[in-house]
């Protein structure tokens, strides 16, 4: 076992706060456990609740390198793990024309011609590393098989070079928007964290942290309005990022109180669908203005 990154749950909260991420008890506990038990952490939740942000803050808090693998449809081994630099290999072969086959072969398949992709990079890094595998649900099912092998024992086999084992286990964080059910096998190897919208108190602290110049009373109102919007049945509930954006907008506009007029004119910052807009206006009684 390698040295754990955190000594206690409270230390997680403290270090993450230092990196600009306010963690709730479940988040801090799960991060602490993932570190202590040496398991990857699968974070699921609606868009914009700070899944990717958590990885960034973790890297900063523990002074680790952040290696990021962005998944997309059709991502494969060559993009995720490693690839041979064919162009360079060809150049090498033409340059050393009079060399024997044995020498050329040994040289062409050496470290110099290997292009490491994020997964290999994270495994080979001797420094502490946070490996972020973003939007895992976007990748194909075949990709999960590859991840299983790597997350299981943190080693990669390159046929020409042999097996590369991690000298230092990276802290692995997978995120998913749940557009597709990930396979049971992958889920079983991970700790599961469902990130949801934060409590009003926590969200207020987040807004204060990100937009410190905003008046405290105004921050309070911002959080209340957003909370009310989230309890409606909207197509897309406002995320934390959108709350912060809205707070910034209000600051830029120099608003000193939140009234119907201000909300009506800036609702576009937090709601992205016309139908949501109409519904929110009706339920928050913004239409009284027009009457």
């Amino acid at each position: 076992m390698q040295e754990p990154l955190f000594g206690s749950v409270d230390e997680v909260v403290e270090l993450l706060a230092g990196a600009g991420y306010l963690a709730s008890t479940p988040v801090a506990t799960t991060v602490y456990l993932a570190d202590r038990l040496g398991k990857p952490l699968l974070v699921e939740g609606p868009a914009g609740v700070g899944k990717t942000e958590l990885a960034r803050a973790l890297a900063q808090a523990t002074a680790s390198d952040l290696v990021r693998l962005q998944c997309y449809e059709g991502i494969d081994e060559a993009r995720a793990l490693y690839e041979w630099n064919h162009a360079k290999q060809l150049l090498r072969i033409t340059a050393g024309r009079d060399q024997g086959w044995e020498d050329t072969r040994d040289e062409v398949f050496s470290e110099e011609f290997l292009l490491p992709r994020p997964l290999l990079k994270a495994i080979r890094n001797p420094e502490p590393t946070v490996l972020l595998i973003d939007e895992t649900d976007k990748s194909d099912v075949e990709m999960e098989g590859l991840l299983l092998e790597i997350l299981g024992d943190f080693q990669v086999t390159v046929p020409e070079l042999g097996t590369i084992t991690a000298t230092r286990r990276p802290f692995v964080l997978l995120t998913s928007n749940a557009t597709r059910e990930l396979s049971e096998a992958l889920k079983r190897r991970c700790l599961f964290l469902h990130l949801d919208f934060p409590s009003p108190e926590l969200e207020r602290d987040i807004v204060t942290l990100k937009v410190p110049d905003l008046d405290a009373r105004l921050t309070e109102s911002v959080v209340r309005v957003v909370g009310a919007l989230r309890s409606m049945e909207l197509r897309k509930a406002p995320s934390i990022a959108e709350t912060v954006d809205w707070a910034r907008t209000l600051l830029a506009l120099g608003a000193d109180t939140i009234d119907e007029q201000v909300v009506e004119s800036t609702l576009g910052v937090i709601l992205k669908y016309q139908s949501d807009h109409r519904k929110a206006a009706a339920e928050l009684r913004l239409d009284r203005l027009l009457a």
């Binding site: 008890t25 079983r188 309890s231 049945e233």
Partner: protein, 457 residues
Amino acid sequence: MTGLPDRLVEFVGALREHGIPVGPGETIDAAAAVDVLGLADREQVRAALAATVLRRSGQRAAFDALFDLYFPIAIGSAETAAETEDLGELRNALVTALAQGDTERMRALAAAGVEVFGQYGSFGEGGSGGGGMSGWSAYQTLERVRPDALLSRVLAAIRGEQGDGLGEALSRQEAQSRIASFRDQVQAEARRRTAEFRGRERIARYAVAPQPDLVSFTNASSQQLAELRRTIQPLSRKLATRLAARRRRSRRGQIDLRRTLRRSLATGGVPMRPAMRERRPGRPELVLLCDMSGSVAGFAQFTLQLVQALADQFSKVRTFAFVELTDEITELVTAGAADPEGLARRIMTQARLTRWGMSSDYGDSLGSFVEGWPDAVGPRTSVLILGDGRTNGGDPNLAAVREIAGRAKHVHWLNPEPRSAWGTGDSAALEYAREVPMHECRNLRQLTRLVTELLPG
């Protein structure tokens, strides 16, 4: 820490009974996690167990309720309880707590309320009688405390700060959600107290609500239906992704020999670039025929909305509703996408579904569908019939079903009743099932599976 492994295993057993698959590997992980953390902080233990045992976000509510049962916050009456025996005083304190949004205080008051007003049955000496019918009732507590009736008082207490329209709407919404969470606290407290008295397993089995996707459509409460509705958007997105993936896979098809040979002429007869046969995925037309009578309306509405959300998977969706007669409601459903709660009411008031009664008449309904909209069903149409097939003793009109089946590409019947109830009483389900394939569709999980199977890919 003796007893902890046993408790953990019991807890895992209860989770399995609620349809959350937890393997032995996960149980070991959970134990390891608790070992690392210790038992000092209950919320940390809760988070640790959730992280190791859960795999899906919909399982959280059932998990929390069971956690509160197996790792209770206290034993016996909470120490804050019995501070007031007077109903009026309790309600006053509750108004203050609700207005301030003080969760801890609300919990304490919920405990006090259950302690004082919720007890029923004979307890014998010091509550150890163990009589068959005694315990603490959330229903009885809520009947006495009546938190819903406090809404206007809570509003008045909050309103102190802001008085405009927006502030009013905000306060109302907050007050309502706090009252709802107070109700949940009372229920959790009653479960905890009763569990001590009557055994944890029993309460875990009967008093903890099932996961949303296992709630049966026919006896879901309005609150559960609202919760189900909230899952429509994410579910339809998931289904659409799944269908798109299936279509993509089928595209890597067979070699088109004719086109490959034609192409090979350019390379001197050597087929360098094989041409694949393209499959044109037919986007079928869908016709939904829904029973809107009281017994199955919840199910029909839900399915309507799900299909509506999936509308771009079809070239055309037409919806019909019936009670005693059939009428087309495609317009109503499309126009009502913004207001799903009011859909049923609008269908009942604006479409002509009834003559004089409110009970379903399958014979006339199917007959009027076949006669009134002969153009709706063609050889490219898939028809879904939603209903329990309870004819109220009338003629089932099998000929009409046969005619629909003859004209359409596929017909499937989704029945929200359990298979064992088909054909009992006035149900003509078995007779219909002989004409068209009938599927049991009692909960969201079954519906999801059926939609994936029945939809073309």
